[in-house]
């Protein structure tokens, strides 16, 4: 038993050591727990909240765009998206087959869905198709019980109800790209589905159309699935905008243009409000919001008549004879010439060795200022230009708004070009030639103007020399209330009213005198009658030999080589209200192609008389749709 006792004693000693060690180790665990749970607890609480709380941005509803009478031009429509949750669909391939039996799915969409499903967490919904029709939505909803994991999701989509007619004014929205992100740090732009203005008013008015983001805090689990909402801060929806455009007139102008390529600008000659601004041909901006196909895009950019370009503000044309009013005013204002002084036109003017032709081969005979305008005699204006010189012509041009941007609220406006001695020396490196002054005198040569500038010119002539500037933004409405805006008043140009009378008499006769170049395009109702000026601009050089043998007629030349047809006009004759500039690219002569279009537009705008009717603000104050 001695051995047994010894063994027992040894065991007991060691068992006590082990028991003590157990107690010590437990104390160690407790100490470590104390460190984590009591000493460092705050740090871990912060980490725990960071783990579970996510901040999500709520995109604001984009402001709508209306015409002056409250017709909606750009709005947010519900976008029914077909989405599938792979986790709930179980067999994604089979689910897609079943969907395809109800609504068409294109192959590349199917591939994209399968690709996304492989990359993302199984509970993340994947968009199969966007912009479902109501029929397709009902097809899916009716069959919902047989389609686990397939859902209809409602998003927001920009809709341009009159897209093709208004795209060059309203523009369109598109996905955010890298360069957009460089300009702003608005976190909204990082949202995957966010759209910003890419063109037109949508682009220029972006900051007030966009609104401010709201946000919500959500609790998420370890896989990012949202468990519940903790807190929400509502943002501010974008402001609604009313434009000066009259949609009815805009549609009329677009329709009247038909197949022609070119541009027309209609404005109120007193306020500068643009009533219609058309650039033809046009395109449908809704293509851009729903994602344009490669084929459609190639078609648009390779179209010979450049539908994507807004020709009314970025098309730069020689003004041709429509510029002759400016030259006439230079003559009158400078005092170089009495309006009754006449020159003799025998069909050409010789300066040095060069012969400058009049458009009428056998001349106009004795020509005074009014007759010069009425019959658009080139020789008369060669003579005038020779006397007044390029410097004074350039100065007057600039007073009428040529050669610089008019700062209309549209992107891509071009300044045009008013050539001067300094300009030529700097750009071409040669001194100004006397003959070049003559060419500018009939609105050709280096001189370039936009249709908008021509419309502003005719407005300033019609209103008696008030320097109106064009604008398209009428009102901004925030939360149903118009925001008061500065109305700029326009300064008089300081040109004698009597001089304007002479120029306007010339323009009147262009249309209303049987010898006028646009007599056939006159408006016969006296109350609606218009005054205007034709212009036909050569787009290629006509050689001396051709002049001798007879110029090939416009209609016999290929389209690209035909003259541009221009017409500027205002109406009515007494107290003018509306001005218009029409440019028909390669249309032929201004009197026979552009003037009838301008006539119809002026007749329509007077019939509608948008400036006399109050704007319809009520349409904007109706409750906003939820988007």
């Amino acid at each position: 038993m001695r051995g047994e006792t010894g063994r027992a004693n040894l065991f007991t000693r060691r068992a006590i050591i082990v028991g003590g060690a157990q107690a010590l180790l437990t104390a160690g665990l407790a100490g470590r727990l104390y460190q984590l749970q009591v000493v460092d607890s705050e740090r871990y609480q912060v980490l725990a909240d960071e783990n579970r709380i996510n901040m999500q941005l709520l995109p604001p509803a984009r402001g709508r765009i209306f015409d002056r009478f409250g017709q909606v031009l750009a709005e947010n429509r519900l976008n029914y998206r077909l989405i599938v949750v792979p986790e709930a669909a179980l067999d994604l391939n089979r689910a897609l087959d079943e969907i395809a039996a109800l609504v068409p799915i294109e192959d590349h969409d199917r591939e994209r869905v399968l690709r996304e499903a492989r990359r993302k967490q199984q509970f993340v919904p994947i968009t199969v198709r966007e912009n479902l029709t109501w029929d397709e939505v009902s097809q899916i909803e009716v069959n919902a019980p047989d389609l686990p994991g397939v859902m209809i999701d409602v998003g927001s989509r920009r809709l341009y109800a009159f897209g093709r007619d208004t795209v060059h004014i309203v523009g369109y929205v598109g996905a955010v790209n890298e360069s957009d992100l460089e300009l702003t740090d608005d976190p909204l732009l990082t949202l995957p589905d966010f759209r910003i203005g890419k063109n037109g008013a949508e682009k220029v008015l972006e900051s007030s159309l966009r609104g401010e983001a709201g946000s919500r805090q959500v609790e998420v689990n370890a896989y990012g699935r949202v468990i519940r909402e903790l807190n929400r801060r509502t943002g501010r929806p974008g402001d609604d905008h009313m434009l000066t455009i009259d949609l009815g007139l805009q549609q009329y102008v677009a329709a009247r243009f038909g197949e022609e390529s070119g541009s027309a600008v209609v404005l109120d000659v007193h306020s500068g409000e643009i009533l219609a601004l058309a650039s033809m041909p046009s395109y449908d901006p809704n293509l851009f919001t729903s994602g344009i196909s490669q084929r459609q895009w190639r078609e648009l950019i390779s179209h010979p008549r450049f539908p994507l370009s807004n020709k009314s503000i970025n098309g730069q044309y020689s003004p041709g004879s429509t510029f002759k009013m400016i030259v006439a005013l230079v003559a009158l204002e400078s005092g170089e010439l009495s309006p009754h002084h006449s020159f003799f036109c025998n069909g050409s003017l010789k300066l040095g060795k060069r012969r400058f032709r009049c458009w009428r081969r056998y001349g106009h005979g004795h020509v005074s200022m009014v007759k010069g305008l009425m019959e658009s005699c080139d020789v008369y204006f060669y003579e005038v230009a020779k006397r007044v010189g390029i410097d004074r012509i350039a100065a007057m041009s600039e007073r009428f708004g040529f050669g610089s941007k008019l700062d209309i609220e549209l992107p891509g406006e071009k300044p045009g070009l008013v050539p001067t001695r300094e300009w030529k020396l700097a750009m071409i490196g040669e001194p100004w030639q006397g003959g070049e002054t003559l060419v500018v005198g009939i609105g050709q040569g280096y001189l370039l103007t936009t249709p908008l500038q021509l419309a502003v010119m005719v407005a300033r002539i019609a209103n008696g020399g008030i320097a109106v500037k064009p604008r398209i933004l009428a009102e901004i409405i925030r939360d149903g209330q118009p925001i008061p805006q500065e109305r700029n008043t326009f300064a008089p140009m300081g040109i004698s009213p009597g001089h304007f009378d002479i120029v306007r008499e010339g323009m009147l006769k262009v249309v209303n005198d049987p010898k006028g170049t646009a007599y056939r395009a006159r408006i016969e109702e006296p109350a609606l009658a218009m005054a205007g000026k034709t212009g036909s601009v050569q787009v290629r050089r006509i050689s001396e030999r051709e002049h001798r043998t007879g110029v090939v007629k416009n209609e016999d030349r290929p389209w690209e080589e035909r003259d541009h047809a221009l017409f500027v006009a205002y109406a009515p004759l007494e107290r003018p209200r509306y001005g218009v500039a029409v440019v028909v690219e390669h249309g032929g002569s201004g009197g026979s192609v552009a003037a009838p279009i301008a006539r119809d537009i002026l007749r329509e705008v007077q019939r509608r008389d948008p400036s006399a009717r109050a704007r319809n603000l009520e349409a904007l104050i109706r409750p906003r749709e939820t988007a």
């Binding site: 051995g3 047994e4 010894g6 063994r7 027992a8 040894l10 065991f11 007991t12 060691r14 068992a15 006590i16 082990v18 028991g19 157990q22 107690a23 180790l25 437990t26 160690g28 665990l29 407790a30 470590r32 727990l33 104390y34 984590l36 749970q37 009591v38 460092d40 607890s41 740090r43 871990y44 609480q45 980490l47 725990a48 783990n51 579970r52 609790e219 998420v220 689990n221 370890a222 896989y223 468990i227």
Partner: protein, 382 residues
């Protein structure tokens, strides 16, 4: 006090055995078991499905098993010790072969009702076998080195098999439990020193046998923040959950990190973390005290036994139980690498529950038969 010979047919009667049962220990076990079921309800978001209801069944069955084992004559366990060890070893080899055939890690044998893990059984079997072996070694024998060769083999052979499964946690537990049994049996301290040096020296060799994921766990243990979304994720999330619990916890069923699934395996290996998040420092300190209570009680029961088999068996069970708790808690609070050991009596799992109850039953059995004297060589009077 009557000296009963284990060899005699009478022994003590069943009723007497039940009276001698250490009911305080049973109460401790039941308390921890109840806490565990409560935590499983929380883990499933306040529902008894899918875990708590089944755990209750396992716990009830385990309780019956524990008492049944405790009332079996200790002599039976002494005689059966090697047989049980042999059986457990055969099963271990069996799953190894099955695993090789199935080309994957295989740790269990499906018995229909329960998936039997031979490694769980081996923990108990090794203690039984070692207790029996040292029971038969005289005081003179414990000084000799050759005395330790058979038990070393008994420890290392199953440990190696389990390491291959691969189950690092159980293998370590087996080796550690066995080593402490050797210490309790009386091996000289300097010999243990040599063994420890040898073990540390073999570290690089063992490293070669570890699987990639095991290596990753050990490496991320030393620097969990280096890879917060990769292998370090579990440790970091566990610490965040624990730490955010604070002194009093977020309240029962209110743990955000565990319920939002930031916490991995919250019903098994990481249940302690969820408990710490919901019940706070006070709550888990209380649970640790309950565990320490069982471990200390085990030491007392073992020390009071009048037979060497009982002493060694009791301590073996106690130490294994304690290290189970220690490794699990130390793992979830980031003191040791994640080795994948459940928390005894609380983590969900039938196989672990039953083998634990089997072990605790043996501990109770030692208590019941504390006055029984067993000769070194059973059958002959000592």
């Amino acid at each position: 006090m009557a000296q009963l010979d284990i060899g005699s047919r009478q022994g003590i009667r069943i009723a007497e055995r039940l009276l001698r049962l250490d009911w305080f220990l049973v109460v401790l076990v039941c308390t921890i078991g109840a806490v565990g079921i409560g935590m499983l309800i929380s883990a499933s978001g306040g529902s008894t499905e899918p875990w708590a209801s089944r755990q209750m069944v396992w716990f009830g069955a385990g309780l019956l098993l524990m008492i049944a084992v405790a009332t079996v004559d200790i002599g039976f366990w002494l005689r059966a010790a090697y047989t049980i060890y042999g059986l457990a070893f055969a099963l271990l080899v069996g799953v190894e072969l099955l695993g090789a055939a199935g080309k994957g890690a295989q740790r269990w044998i499906d018995l229909g009702v329960i998936q039997l893990q031979p490694s769980e059984l081996m923990k108990i079997a090794l203690i039984l076998a070692l207790a029996r072996y040292f029971h038969g070694v005289p005081l003179e024998g414990i000084g000799r080195i050759r005395t330790y060769l058979p038990p070393l083999l008994m420890i290392l052979a199953p440990a190696a098999l389990i390491l291959r499964q691969p189950d690092l946690g159980t293998a370590l537990l087996l080796a550690l439990g066995g080593g402490i049994m050797l210490f309790l049996a009386g091996i000289k301290a300097w010999k243990i020193g040599i063994a420890v040096v040898l073990a540390l020296g073999s570290g690089p060799v063992v490293w070669q046998f570890l699987h990639e994921y095991q290596k990753a766990r050990i490496l991320t243990f030393f620097n969990p923040e280096a890879d917060p979304l990769g292998a370090g994720y579990h440790i970091l999330q566990s610490k965040i959950a624990l730490g955010s619990g604070g002194l009093f916890g977020k309240g029962y069923l209110q743990g955000t990190q565990s319920h939002l699934n930031f916490l991995p395996e919250k019903q098994t290996d990481f249940i302690f973390t969820m408990m710490a998040e919901e019940l706070g420092f006070f709550g888990v300190a209380g649970v640790l005290l309950l565990y320490l209570g069982i471990a200390t009680y085990g030491v007392v029961i073992s020390a009071r036994s009048n037979n060497h088999f009982g002493r060694l068996l009791g301590m073996g069970i106690t130490v294994t139980f304690f290290f189970h708790v220690f490794f699990n808690v130390a793992m979830v609070i980031g003191l040791i690498p994640i080795v994948g050991l459940p928390l005894p009596l609380i983590s969900y799992g039938g196989s672990a529950m039953l083998s634990l109850m089997l072990g605790l039953g043996l501990l109770l059995c030692v208590g019941v038969h504390r006055d029984v004297i067993i000769t070194r060589r059973p059958g002959s009077a000592g």
